[in-house]
């Protein structure tokens, strides 16, 4: 039984590193890989939590996550946008990477602080101690990624990382989440990616770039 708690803690540690990686990585392909890793860790955590008091719901969460986020979603993103988008490096963020990292640090401290009341009441072996603060931190760091990034794909990955964080905290709190909600959420995410991907592709075809930062100014003719 203890090794399940241990492995879950390990997954938690790696999960928050992946969240920081998505925030700080410039190359979009590496960003996508880190997102896949993060989703894999989320699935692993759900599987581990589903094992110890046996819960078919959490197993299902793990399976859905594995299929949609680890395999299907990256494949979809790769298919929708051409290779050039992924080899690109993002040079200009809204704020520089070191300051974004420091803000993320403050957010993580906040996440630990806010989840203190949960952590204090939980028993030492409970997954809440790991999953709630780290999931909350992952959510906040994802939101930060969403605001600092200026490329469409990495913004999208920030949004998905937010969702991953919410799930990571959620699987420890709400053990018996109805399966239908899980399924609905998973398909929601897929539809979101599909729409955003098609939109990004259209923008890319028209303007030759996926930099969202340029969209703030109005222009009649396409930007070169």
């Amino acid at each position: 039984m203890t090794y399940i708690v241990n492995l879950n803690a390990l997954a938690g540690g790696l999960f928050i590193i992946a969240a920081f990686g998505i925030l700080a990585t410039r190359q979009i392909r590496a960003c996508l890989k880190l997102f896949i890793l993060q989703s894999l860790l989320l699935a692993a955590s759900a599987l581990l939590l589903g094992l110890s008091p046996f819960s078919i719901h959490l197993m299902a969460v793990a399976a859905i996550n594995l299929v949609t986020k680890v395999f299907f979603l990256p494949w979809l993103l790769r298919r929708l946008l051409n290779e050039e988008v992924y080899t690109r490096r993002e040079i200009s963020q809204a704020i520089t990477i070191p300051s974004a990292l420091l803000i993320a640090l403050v957010l993580t401290i906040g996440a630990y602080f806010f989840s203190l009341s949960w952590v204090e009441t939980a028993s030492a072996a409970s997954a809440i101690r790991i999953n709630v603060p780290i999931g909350l931190a992952g959510l906040l760091i994802g939101a930060l990624t969403l605001t600092t990034r200026r490329e469409a794909v990495s913004q999208l990955l920030g949004l998905l990382a937010m969702e991953n964080g919410a799930f990571f905290a959620g699987i420890a709190i709400a053990q018996g989440l109805p399966l239908i909600a899980e399924l609905a959420l998973a398909f929601d995410v897929l539809v979101l990616i599909f729409v955003a991907g098609v939109l990004t592709r259209a923008v890319h075809e028209r303007t030759g770039s996926t930099a969202v930062g340029r969209l703030s100014s109005l222009r009649e003719e396409p930007h070169e």
Binding site: N6, A9, G13, I16, F20, A24, P98, Y112, V119
Partner: protein, 315 residues
Amino acid sequence: MVKHILFNILQVLVVMGFSPLAVGVLNCLKEIVQSKRGPSIFQPYRDLRKLFAKDEVVAEESSWIFRVTPYIVFVAPIFVALLIPVLTSYPLFWAFMGDMVGAGFVLALGGFFAALAAVDTANPYGSMGASRTRMVGFLAEPVFLIVFFSVSFVADSTIPYIVQQKWVTPMANFFEPSHILLLVAFIMLILAEKGRIPVDNPSGHFELAMIEESKDLEYSGRGAALMKWGGWMKFFVLMIVFSNVLLTPWGLASTMDWGAILLAILLVMIKILFFILFLVLVESSLAKLRLFRISEFMSAAFVIAVISMLTSVFS
């Protein structure tokens, strides 16, 4: 007591004797990954023998610092080898003379003199390298301190022999997020401190791009040999701290007999080999960062170290 002192001396001999081998294996494996044949793993020993046999040339304008530095650089890692658990899991004669912070200071002293000596001969490349090393150094310094803070939060001590026990008793400590984050931060520190890719390219011979290597360009003969050997020993000592104190505190001798010690030498070498394999993987898959991107790398290490401390405080 006599045996403790003997074992302590043996630790130093292991660090002195095997550090060129570790570097040789690293260089050889890196070349093999690039589908070359690679130099012999004993090449560093041959380099040392060649350099010790050669004459030494010292610039006329240089001061005593230039002459003293090779000895300081050579001796600093030896002192650290006395303080850390290289072979045994029980404290040896010198174990309580200094903690991990002390060991860090002793290593930093060597780095400080190396930087001074690089400026001393007024070789432009030397001072450029020295200023860059200092830049990396002062970005690494806060990370070092935070790592020690988070170690002391977990183990209530920074003596390496005590820290080593705390990570595995109870076993749950080993899997804690604070431990994982600490390991990542410390790996990034080793890469920065020893000038490996992605911070610096150790096999590059282009002076303008050098960080670490350009400091001993002016040395020849015995001075060069001592500087090189000292650098390898520092690298070896950092790997030992990482593998024996932080990552895998198993496989060390727990009894006083010589058989256990010899077995421990073998196991430590296997651990180092795994660390070297990891380094080869990192070095052949990443590119060197631009100079001003290093601050990003180090700030990532800093943030990871602070979160490691945070998680150990809050849990």
